[in-house]
Point group: C2
Amino acid sequence: MSQRIAAGIDIGGTNIEAGWVLPEGKVLSRGKIKTRSFATPQDMVHAVSHMLSKQRSAMDETYEVIGAGIGAPSSNFYSGCMEYAPNMPWPGVVPLVKLFEAEMNCATYLTNDANAAALGEMIFGGAKDMSDFIMVTLGTGLGSGFVSSGKLLYGHDGHAGELGHTIAIPNGRPCGCGRKGCLETYASATGIVKTAIERLSTAHIASSLNDISLEKISAYDITMAARNGDTLALEIFEFTAQILGMKLADTVAITSPKAIFLFGGLAHARELLSVPLKKNMEQNLLNIYQNKEDILFSQMTDDDAALLGAASLVWQEKG
Amino acid sequence: MSQRIAAGIDIGGTNIEAGWVLPEGKVLSRGKIKTRSFATPQDMVHAVSHMLSKQRSAMDETYEVIGAGIGAPSSNFYSGCMEYAPNMPWPGVVPLVKLFEAEMNCATYLTNDANAAALGEMIFGGAKDMSDFIMVTLGTGLGSGFVSSGKLLYGHDGHAGELGHTIAIPNGRPCGCGRKGCLETYASATGIVKTAIERLSTAHIASSLNDISLEKISAYDITMAARNGDTLALEIFEFTAQILGMKLADTVAITSPKAIFLFGGLAHARELLSVPLKKNMEQNLLNIYQNKEDILFSQMTDDDAALLGAASLVWQEKG
């Protein structure tokens, strides 16, 4: 029997990556193009499909293509469209599934990037034996994908899973969404930098972070400082964990997951984040949930996660 | 073909009600016994089964029994047990499904009372055409049942759906669960009474509620006062709606329901609650959710809701 393969297409604000994936999670091929090279979504879809077709022609002929999965921001599984994505060059509603299906001639599925990461974790990563878990991506924003009874939670309109836009602190930090106090303004790679800048510009505390100019501080810098025992950096992680831990406890009371997986830039801090996070989450949990939910790290590598996440949509729907 | 019927058994802290239900939601028979009449769960199960059997023998012989559904506090669908229910006479883990199955000789299912209410709404009530919604019961506490893609959200251990124990105000009012600031200490029939007592005992405001002694004030009194235009009572509803609206907005960002149904004592306030609640929820919603989720009232009557909720478990599993 011929091996089956699926295309994974990850559409980001800067790059689009696309490649072919085997059912066991091996990436057979991959390519990257700049998102902003294309004036229209049609041009982009044409170029990406062409790239995948070229990769395909260099591979074993016997592979059988069973579909294509797309992960993209502000994307809706039900409608098959990217909808008003804030950091994308194409405005309005972009019918990605329809456009790719026409070029690729195979079943095509779309979901938002955090949902794709959750599916990738379930099919190829650390959640293989789990049917109820949450994926939290801590990058520029905070994305989330909820898996319940082995399926992504989509809600009535495909928009479920926006944990980053629950309110962490009423009337708190302004958020890109136009509201105030959203969780992602505190708990994300960007959020922890905001915390550092607030602390450094209001208090005169001895910290190696004072050696970096405020506009250049990154989540990586704060992580490195904390790793070296910097008191302020450690306090910044504790503050971040307090806020995220409280909101994760609320979330556990709603969906009762077996585990919460962390991924993305801020997750590179590993136990600097997960240890205070677990402590703060437990402190806010109702007794029936205590010591039952794990905080884990994604088992997908940064290099493969986006492609595997996108391709996992195909295995989920047609596997 | 013979008509199929299911038993509904609702186990509460004061009464146990049990009866037979037709698939279209008609209650054929019902009976009630006092929960505290029985020293052991075995005695209770025996008496309830006997009551159902007597009801059955007075009915049309051609009815075919397809199962029994039980709604009870602190109950777990997966384990079939009531687990450490705080206001029940029987301590520890009570294997209700096993006990009833042995007496009733039919397929038996158990879930907690708020989950049963959610299923009842979907199968017999106002959520017949919905596959994603939330049921919120506002009684002594705040119970919740989440339906997603037409199924109850149980989580990995059967404990999903405890919205009443998310944190509304950090370090806020003490809760029966031992923690502080849980949503149900503000948004429930008991919670709104606490708010009234706080306001009446700290401020000297003209209010018809001053005519009632503090220890006797009920959610009904506050509702009646608000209905008569009492400023303080209206302000108490606004405060309750602010807190519940904020937490419902968070919840919408997680599960994106089509509607939120309200049931229970405080829901009798109808638009006195739902109008400020809708306003406050909308103010806290991310733009993609705005004006898409309805706040509705359960279409089940107070008399039938518990029996129908319990029986709906059978139709959900075997329908």
